[in-house]
Every structure is written in structure tokens, then in C-alpha cells.
Symmetry: C2
Subunit: 185 residues, 2 copies
Amino acid sequence: MSDSNGTPEAVHLDAEYGLAENPDDHRSELRLWLRMLTCTTLIETEIRKRLREQFDTTLPRFDMMAQLYRTEEGVLLGELSQRMMVSNGNVTGLVERLVQEGLIERQVSETDRRATRVSMTPHGRAVFAEMAEAHAEWISDFMSSVSERDQERLWSRLGGLKASVRGALSDQPAQGRKASRRKRT
Amino acid sequence: MSDSNGTPEAVHLDAEYGLAENPDDHRSELRLWLRMLTCTTLIETEIRKRLREQFDTTLPRFDMMAQLYRTEEGVLLGELSQRMMVSNGNVTGLVERLVQEGLIERQVSETDRRATRVSMTPHGRAVFAEMAEAHAEWISDFMSSVSERDQERLWSRLGGLKASVRGALSDQPAQGRKASRRKRT
DNA sequence: GTTGATAATTTTAAGTTTAAAGAATTTACT
DNA sequence: AGTAAATTCTTTAAACTTAAAATTATCAAC
């Protein structure tokens, strides 16, 4: 099995290694799960590498800026935590580093002094716009062999999967939050 | 918009927040990418939580044990790094912790004293078998609203995506490894 | 006006993760 | 046989990440 210059094709190991040999040992859900993990990790690893090499930044910082870029009026930290799907403590640290780089800024909420709203500085916007363009090109390139139609189908079916997961999680007993407060008539 | 007991449905924020409002600002590839991220993060977060609560362990440790479980004769550290899709340095640390827990053990390779092979202890196997069963049930439950047919389609199309990504990455210029060495006739 | 429950974020301790440098070993070349 | 290059893993420094406790603030109930 050779590529065009006669050398053996690279053999890639990843999270799916060894599944094909024992197909009955693994339910289809598990194989699907490992494939999702493999695909996202593959892409993430390459994005991380290119962000470091070309923009001297990290993937979590890029992710935070991406969320802030989409909301010009700024985002509360709690909301940022949810949108980035990371813990509050992690957000605090990331914000600190981006503030130090002059890319974002904090404002204490005028209506609730516990809350902090974070937004991008003009400088941050300019820097991010450049990274975002490159990032979009990379993603496009990664998916260049997948037809628009297949991408659309994947997007749609992953939406079904997402709803299934959300549904399964919401059937869990609530952990004593919000549901019992605010009894106002 | 209410669920069955009349309260408003929970509103979930995640990495896809804000995309629908500006569909033209984002290529389909980007939306697909963010959906993939959202799905995998959603599932990972819940698995992590249950592993901690029910088995007092962490997701990376579980992942390492899952790879070792599939290969009874043990795995070299470099190969483990590839199969787990994490760096060599990370693997070293994780191995150390699992060795300390008595779940896995190291053997220096007889044929190459640089290399270390890692395998599960009998105790580790027993512990992992239990976790693996629960884990498979969880994944099944998460995907319970997705038909077998749709899972099959997702698996297949994600395979196409994976190949596309691999292809895009292999078109990158090699970084001076193996390819330029070994001129032997 | 006071109080207890809740909310929003920070801090803490621990684990994970990366990239790069270092050490020991192996392999290829001369 | 000697040497240079490559390999395999460990160590290091820094960043990220989590869960839980702590701190500060808000708000509904009384």
C-alpha cells in the first residue's frame, strides 16, 4: 500500500485503535463516541499548533475571544463559562491573562456589583479578526473533501444527537437548584 | 414553551450560542465544527462527573485504562500517547498515578532499554471491567433517542470527515522526520 | 430593617496538558 | 569500530482545567 512516491502510507494510531478487531465487543454507540472524540481531537490538535506558530496564542484564549467577538456589548462571566463549556474558575484565569494582554477588559456590572461583564478592546477585535479568518480557512481546508451536502447532513444528525444527550441529562434528578426558590404568586 | 409540569424549559448555553442569529457570518464548516465540539464536550462533561461520583476516578485515567484493556500484552508509552491522542509528557504523569494506584504496571522492554511497556494488573482489569460496563450504559443512554440507523450514518460520515482531515494534514510539509533519513539502497 | 437563601465570582488544591529540553539508548553511516 | 542522527521517554515550565470552598453581593420573606 503506497502513496504516489512509493513509500508506505503513514499509519495513524488514535482513539479508535483496536475497535475493528473486536466489533462485537463494542456497541455501536461506543464506536460512534470514539469516532467523535477522534475527529474533534484531531482537528483541535492541529488548530492549537497553528495558533501557537502563527499567532503566538492558545486555543482556550482563542475560544474565549471568539465568544466575546460575537457579543459586542460584553458577556457576564457566568454566561461565558456556559458558552465556553468550562468551569467558572477556569474562566477567571483566562480572563486575567487576556486582560493582561490588553485584548479584553472587565467592567463591574452597574446593576449587580457581584457580576463582571467582559468585552473586547478595539485592539482585541483587530487581533481576533485576523485569527478568525485564518481559523475559518483551516477548518474549511480540513473539511475540503467532505461535500457541502454531507456537512449539512452531519450537522443535522449531530443536532439530533445533541438533543438526545440533552434529553438524557435532563431526566436526571435536579440537584437542588432554582426549582424551589421564588414562590411569588 | 413549557415542559410537562408547566415550568419553562431549561435554556442551555453552549459553544453554538449566537450562531443562528448571524448565519451568513459563519461558513457551514465552522458551524459543523462548533456542533461537534458542543456534542463531545456535553458528553465528556457528564462522563467525567459520573466517573468521579461513582468510581472516584478521572476521565484521562479511564481513557488510559480503556486503551490498555484492549491490549493484554501491554502498550509502549509512545504508542499509548498516539492512541490516547495526548503528549508523551502527559502520558508519563498519568502512568505514574495509575501505577501508584496499583491498577497498571510498567516493564522495561527487553529489546530496547529506552522503551517501557505498560499493562494492566489483574486488579486493574477487574476495576476497569466494572467502570467499562457502566460507561457503555451511559453512552447508550445518551444516544437512546438516536436510531441505530442514524448512528450508523453518523459513524460513516464522520469517517469521511476524519479521512478528509487526515488528508489535509498529510499535505503539510514534513518536519524533517524519517522521510529524509535512511538512504539505504 | 433584618435575615437566610441564593447568586456571581474568586481562590484553592489537585489533576491534566502542552511544547521543548534533556538523558539514555538504538540505528545508520562511514 | 567510531560517530552522528534518530528514537523513546522523562523532566521542566507554563497554561489549562476541575470541583469545592470562600467571599461578596443581592433579594425575597418576614
